[in-house]
């Protein structure tokens, strides 16, 4: 299919196309926009018309970049039902995300399936805080927006290792009532970790709701800060997944002593009830294998 055709399909779909007339080529996942948000953080906007028409904040897709890839979950940061596209943001850390980052505009991703998982429950809580670390900002982005739109007073705390890794700052500043940035090395914003301003906030004022996304140790620490104050705290978990539809059970997590599947029961869970240490152990189980895989790409970079 040439460029022109891709455009016409973008235009035609989904408004005039009934489900019964979809052809496989309508669903090809072509990248239409790509941006580097930080040295290792990439944003892609990709065609996925069936996902775009039904996705809600908090849901994710399973992405399989090419025949030899892993299937990995990525949160849907944004969607556009008119163009039939969704926006994904990922950190290039493992073989699959690095290879995904090598795809250029006009190229295809072998498969994007979703929207999966349950949407985040957006309510008028009063005062809401969104705490995000690293690429967690991309996961938190649609949630923050929805929390604000429904009328919450919104504080966003963004944490990163260093200045270059702070992403989506302008966006978050525009939609929040207050934006606090922390960096581990103090190269930007406050020096330190996200839990410090969070601690101050919950001690100084009434906070009704906290949403957190980012590295596991950070989310665990956020839960520890809010628990004594009895603040409802929701964490978006990224367990290891394969299918994302409840078929493999690889994504299981213990929440309040019950085994749940992150893909069908989550990805949002009560952060005070999650067994964080177990989740951490499950997530790092393939550490050695993943390191070895990195060598495979380093060895045969195109």
């Amino acid at each position: 299919m040439d460029k022109q055709d891709q455009k016409t399909h973008v235009g035609k779909w989904p408004q005039n196309c009934k489900l019964a007339s979809i052809e496989p080529e309508h669903l090809r996942n072509v990248i239409v926009r790509k941006e580097k948000l930080a040295p290792t953080v990439t944003l892609v906007e990709v065609r996925a018309p069936l996902v775009a028409r039904s996705a809600k904040p908090g849901q994710f897709v399973i992405v399989w970049p090419h025949e030899k890839s892993e299937r990995i979950p990525l949160t849907i940061s944004d969607r556009n039902p008119e163009t039939g596209t969704i926006t994904l943001v990922f950190q290039e850390v493992g073989r699959t995300t690095i290879e995904l980052g090598q795809r250029q505009v006009g190229e295809e991703i072998a498969s994007v399936a979703g929207p999966l998982g349950n949407p985040t429950e957006i309510e008028l809580y009063g005062s809401a805080v969104v705490v995000a670390g690293g690429v967690g900002a991309a996961i938190a982005m649609p949630i923050a927006k929805a929390l604000k739109e429904i009328g919450n007073n919104l504080v966003v705390i963004l944490g990163a290792r260093e200045r270059a890794l702070v992403i989506l700052e302008d966006y978050m500043r525009a939609i929040s009532d207050q934006l606090i940035i922390t960096t581990d090395d103090g190269s930007y914003g406050r020096k330190g970790v996200v839990t410090e301003p969070l601690q101050e906030l919950v001690s100084a004022q009434k906070v009704d709701f906290v949403f957190t996304a980012g590295p596991l140790p950070m989310m665990k620490a956020v839960a520890q800060v809010t628990k004594p104050h009895g603040i409802k705290t929701i964490a978006s978990l990224d367990a290891i997944m394969i299918d994302g539809t409840g078929m493999c059970g690889g994504c299981r997590v213990t929440v309040g002593n019950k085994t749940l599947f992150t893909c069908v029961d989550g990805p949002d869970f009560d952060a005070h009830l999650v067994d964080w240490d177990e989740l951490q152990a499950r997530k790092s189980f393939y550490f050695d294998e993943e390191k070895a895989q990195l060598k495979t790409i380093a060895g045969n970079k195109q």
Partner: protein, 470 residues
Amino acid sequence: MAKGGTRNPMPKLPPEIRIRSFEEVALGFNEEQAIDEAERCLGCKNKPCVYGCPVNIDIPEFIRLIREANPVAAARVIKKTNALPAICGRVCPQKEQCEKVCVLAKKSEAVAIGALERFAADQEAKHSNPAEPPKPENPELCKYCVAVVGSGPAGLTAASDLARTGYSVTIFEALHKTGGVLRYGIPEFRLPRHILDREVDYVRSLGVKILTDVVIGKAVGVKDLLNEGFEAVFIGTGAGTPKFLGIPGENLSGIYSGNEWLTRINLMRAHEIDYATPIKVPKRACVIGAGNTAMDCARTALRLGAKEVTIVYRRSRAEMPARAEEIENAEEEGVRFQLLTNPKRFLGNERGAVEAIECSRMELGEADESGRRRPIPVPNSEFRIECDTVIVALGQNPNPLIRMTTPELDTEPWGGIIVDPRTGMTSIPGVFAGGDVVTGEATVIAAMGAGKIAAAGIDSYIRQKHNLII
């Protein structure tokens, strides 16, 4: 060979060779063996085998054609009622079905019906021209669209029957590849992928559209399908949700469901060096359960290079639900059997990875509702099995996605979709279902049978709805 003589054994790769690869274990009869085996058939008048077959293949007739050295014609006879003979010949539990009621089984050994079915199908594939799929019976029906959800044996069969009748059919599949359990569950050493691909290509050649990566219930609701151009929907989403034991320590790392273990290998090809999906080669693996899935997991673990693989099962040998042949194969390959043993809890190391199972010994009591003797724990019999990998293969429940998002759909308390057994229609008019999603985990042939019934049900539903007399 004369009528009723001794059964020809299935030629197989020797165990020491086959455990080093994913090559097909059973090699199939050559022509001479097939004809010899076919000559054993008594050609009984009352054909008990036909009634033992869930889709009533005319078994004596196809065996007669093999005997007359016409396997292609034999395959056509089978295909009248079974669209996937190359698959069924390999994976059906014949010893529980056709071969169980074979008259020869009482005296000596049943005719090797499954092996002959496979022979006919493989010969047909070799000798016939796949480029010419049958024309639709009624091309005018092509303005009516039917959606098929799931591309396992139930969905593939329903789609191919409907397409042959003349309908426009679209299959929606959640995964990136077709075939359902035939692809992600049953390993290549039992069902080579080119055979599955051939069957899927055949379904495509009938004009069936296949859309992968579409999760019905999430991307698109069942009702959306009916509202957006489809006259009817067939749900063949299988029994995809793994059961766990629900005992302490089950979420330690190194503990997999059978589905996860097999999917990593069969679908994602984790064992091949240039594929990204990771897997750890076990030193000592324990597989909990003794069904087909358990045997497949155990034999796959051996092929990955596990030093020791043990099946842990709470009943005895006689109750093991797997196909008899596969239990035999597993045993030949060196899988150990720890029977009458029930896991109590899993023990982990400091990194949260499993290192042992605490089990108790069982003995068999009275028969339970399934007719099998109920295992009861022997007091104070606890002992440990050391292992670094556990695969829990206890069976599956229906996948909840469609049920959760389609409240009008009547389901059993355990999740199965309720249908009218004569038509396959669910509580929603125009929505049909069949296969494991209705029965719970069953067999390939039963899923195909259900796909057939629903295809006929859908055909008469659409004809009635539109007053068609064509």
